[in-house]
C-alpha cells in the first residue's frame, strides 16, 4: 500500500463525487468503521460523501435482554460463563458481567468457542455456557464447537444463542425507510462466509448499490469509488472488489456447519426490535446445547439505558455527536452504551480517532 496509490484513489473518489448532491453510504461492518477511522480514509473524503455506520458491531446489536439473561445465568451456582472480551463490559440493567464477576461469578474471557469446549472438558463439575454472539463470521465457529462438544459427549457445555444474520438487518433498515442510504460498503469478513451473491436481494429488491470490500485503505477507497460511480450513474449493482478473499458462493463448509446446528429464527436487535428470520436458533436435534432450555431461561425485553442513543447510532439515524452522553458521561473509560464499549463500536471509533473529548464536532 502506498500513499501514492491511496492518493490516486482519493482523487478518483473526489472526481466521482463531483459537485453533485450528497451521497450517503453505509458501512455495515464495525471493522470497516474502525478501519476507516484508523487508516485516516475518513479524512480524505469529499464533503458531499457521507459515511453512515450500520448495524454491524456484534456487541452493539445484542439486546439488553440478552445481556441481562447472561448476567442472571452468571449468578447461578455451578455456572461458568465463557465469552468474548467485549461482552464483559456491556452494562446491563444492574451492571454487566464485569460487576457479576466482581461479585464472585465465574466469567471467563475466551478467544474462540472451542476454548469454551475445552474448558468444559477440563471442568466437568461446572456448567460452561458460551455466549454465542456475532454474525456469520463467528456463528460457524460456534456451530463447530457444538458439534465438537457433541462428539466428545460433553454434557456440561451449552450456548446462549445470540447470533445474528447481516442481510435481514440491512433489509429491515431499508424497509423502515427512515434512513436515506444510497449504497452499502459490504463487510469483507462476513462476505467470506456468506459470499458476494448474498447481497443480490439488496440490489434487486431495494435498488441499492452494494460493493464488497476488504479492510486495507486502498480496498476501502476502491469500494467507495465504485459505489459513488454507481450512485451517480443511477445504476445500482453488486460488485466485489475483494475477490481475492470473497467468492460468489462464500464458504459452503462453514455455512453447512452453521445450518446443521442452527436455523434462522426471529431475533431481537438492540433498538430495532424483532426482525423476522434475522437470528440463529438451535435446531431441535441440537436443542440439548441450548442454554435457554437447559436453564429454563427467558430473554427479557430490550431497552436503552436512559439518555443513550446507541439504538439510533447502529441504524445510522444518529451520529455519536448527536448523543448528549457522548464524550461527556459516556467514554471508553465509563461506557454507558454498547457502541462505546466495543472496540468495533461506532462511538468508540469516533471517540478514539475523531477526537471528540467533548460532545462537540470531531475532526472527522
Amino acid at each position: 500500500m502506498s500513499r501514492l496509490e491511496a492518493g490516486r484513489l482519493a482523487e478518483q473518489l473526489r472526481a466521482a463525487c463531483g459537485d453533485g448532491p450528497c451521497v450517503r453510504l453505509m458501512e455495515v461492518c464495525g471493522t470497516h468503521t474502525v478501519a476507516l477511522f484508523r487508516s485516516g480514509v475518513r479524512s480524505l473524503l469529499p464533503e458531499n460523501l457521507r459515511l453512515v455506520s450500520g448495524p454491524g458491531c456484534p456487541v452493539c446489536v445484542t439486546s439488553q435482554g440478552y445481556i441481562d439473561a447472561a448476567c442472571e445465568l452468571a449468578m447461578r451456582s455451578g455456572v461458568t460463563i465463557c465469552t468474548y472480551g467485549d461482552m464483559v463490559r456491556v452494562p446491563g440493567r444492574h451492571g454487566g458481567l464485569e460487576q457479576r464477576r466482581a461479585e464472585g461469578a465465574d466469567v471467563l474471557v475466551v478467544y474462540s468457542a472451542r476454548d469454551a469446549v475445552r474448558h468444559a472438558a477440563t471442568h466437568p463439575d461446572r456448567q460452561v455456557v458460551f455466549l454465542g454472539v456475532g454474525f456469520e463470521t463467528t456463528a460457524p465457529a460456534t456451530a463447530a464447537a457444538v458439534l465438537e462438544a457433541g462428539a466428545r459427549g460433553l454434557e456440561n457445555f451449552t450456548v446462549l444463542p445470540g447470533h445474528k444474520l447481516v442481510i435481514p438487518a440491512m433489509q429491515a433498515l431499508l424497509a423502515a425507510g427512515d434512513v436515506p442510504i444510497d449504497g452499502f460498503l459490504c463487510p469483507g469478513h462476513v462476505s467470506i462466509i456468506i459470499g458476494a451473491k448474498a447481497y443480490e436481494p439488496i440490489v434487486r429488491d431495494h435498488g441499492r448499490a452494494c460493493v464488497v470490500a476488504g479492510f486495507e485503505p486502498e480496498q476501502m477507497l476502491a469500494g467507495l469509488v465504485r459505489l459513488v460511480e454507481q450512485v451517480r450513474a443511477g445504476r445500482p449493482r453488486l460488485e466485489n472488489v475483494y475477490a481475492v478473499a470473497v467468492r460468489e458462493e462464500g464458504n459452503p463448509r462453514a455455512l453447512e456447519w452453521m445450518y446443521r446446528v442452527f436455523e434462522p429464527a426471529d431475533a431481537v436487535w438492540r433498538a430495532m426490535g424483532t426482525i423476522p428470520a434475522s437470528g440463529l436458533a438451535f435446531r431441535p436435534e441440537y436443542a440439548g446445547f441450548d442454554a435457554l432450555r437447559r436453564f429454563d431461561l427467558r430473554i427479557g425485553g430490550d431497552y436503552d439505558p436512559p439518555g443513550c442513543r446507541c439504538g439510533e447510532v447502529i441504524q445510522g439515524k444518529a451520529e455519536p455527536r448527536d448523543c448528549g452522553l457522548f464524550g461527556v458521561e459516556c467514554t471508553p473509560r465509563r461506557p454507558i452504551g454498547p457502541c462505546m464499549v466495543s472496540s468495533e463500536g461506532t462511538c468508540s471509533a469516533w471517540y478514539k480517532y475523531g477526537g471528540a473529548v467533548t460532545a462537540g464536532s470531531p475532526a472527522a
Binding site: 500513499r3 471493522t31 485516516g40 480524505l44 485503505p217 473509560r333 472496540s343
Partner: protein, 344 residues
Amino acid sequence: MSAASSTPTADGRIVLAHGGGGELTRRLVAERFLPKLGNALLSPLTDSAIIDVPAGRAAMTTDAYVVQPLEFPGGDIGRLAVCGTVNDLAVMGARPVALSLAMILEEGLELAVLDRVVDSIAAAAAEAGVVVATGDTKVVEHRRGDGLMITTAGIGEMTGEIRQAPDRIRPGDVLLINGPIAEHGLAVMSAREGLHFDTDLRSDVAPLNGLIAALLGCGADVRFMRDATRGGLAAVAADVAEASSLSVELDEAAIPMTRTARHASELLGLDPLLVANEGKVVVVVSGADTSRALAAMKAHPLGRHAAVIGRVTQARPAVVELLTRAGGRRLVQRPYGEELPRIC
C-alpha cells in the same frame, strides 16, 4: 533437614515452607539464587546492601511485574523485571548501578521454571552491567498468586545535569524511536493460552542503557526520553504532547514495524501504536541534531532500525495526530485500558 523431609519437594515444585524463613528458605537462596546472582553486595545476605554512591545525585525507581505466561517468545518475567527497571533509570539519564529483587512465588510453581527465570535475570543483569544488590522471597498459597510476581527497585547514578524534561520540548523538535514497535505485546498475546495465531514474533525486551548512553554521548540536544511500554508508542506521544502543550505529528509510514507485527495486529484488530514494547525508547531531540542523534542510535545494535517518526509542532495544543500510510489524518489517544482482540 526435618523440614525438607517432612515437606516433600521431590516433585520439583515450590511449597509453602520455601517461604517460611527456615531451612528450606535458606537452601532456596543458597542453591538457586546465589550461585547465579551472587556478588559482593548480595552474597553476605545482610539486611541491607551497602552501596558506594558517588557524591551527587542518584535516581531511584520501583516497578512490579506480572505477566502471563511467565515465559514467552523472546523473554520471561525475569528479563522483563531487570530490563524494565534498568530502562526506567536510563531514560532519566541515569547510569543504572544496582537493583533489588523481591519475588512472590506461588505454591506449586515448578522449580525448573524458577531456575530458568533466575538464569534469565542473571543474564539480563550482566547484559545491562548492573548487580542485584538485595533480595527477598515469599511464598503464597496455591491460587493466591500468579505463579511468580516480581517487584524491583533500582538505583542509578546521575552522571550529569538532568537535562531531559518535557518542558524543554520545542516546536521543530523531532521524535525518534530505536526500532520496530508492538513486538512485545503481540509476542506475549501469541503465547497466551486460547489465542491461537502462529507467529515468529519475539518480545523486544532489552536493556536500553547502552543505547541511551551512546545517544547522550553523541552531543545531540536530547530534550526528553521515555521507554514505550504499556500503552505503546501512543501513550508516550500523548505524554510528550500533553506535557509540552504542543502538537505531535507522527508519520505512520516512517514508524518501524515488521510485516509480521502488522499482520498480527490486523488479525487481532489491534492498533499497533497502542501495543506494548519492552525495548523501545522514544527520544525527542532538537531538530538541528536529528542526523547526529539518528546516527548514534543506528550505530548501536539495539538501534539498527532507528528512525525519525514524527515532529513537534504548534498546530493544536496537546494533541497527537497521525499522518496515515494512506495519506489521511487521525487523532492518536492513549489507550483506555487493556486492548482486547476483536470478536470477528
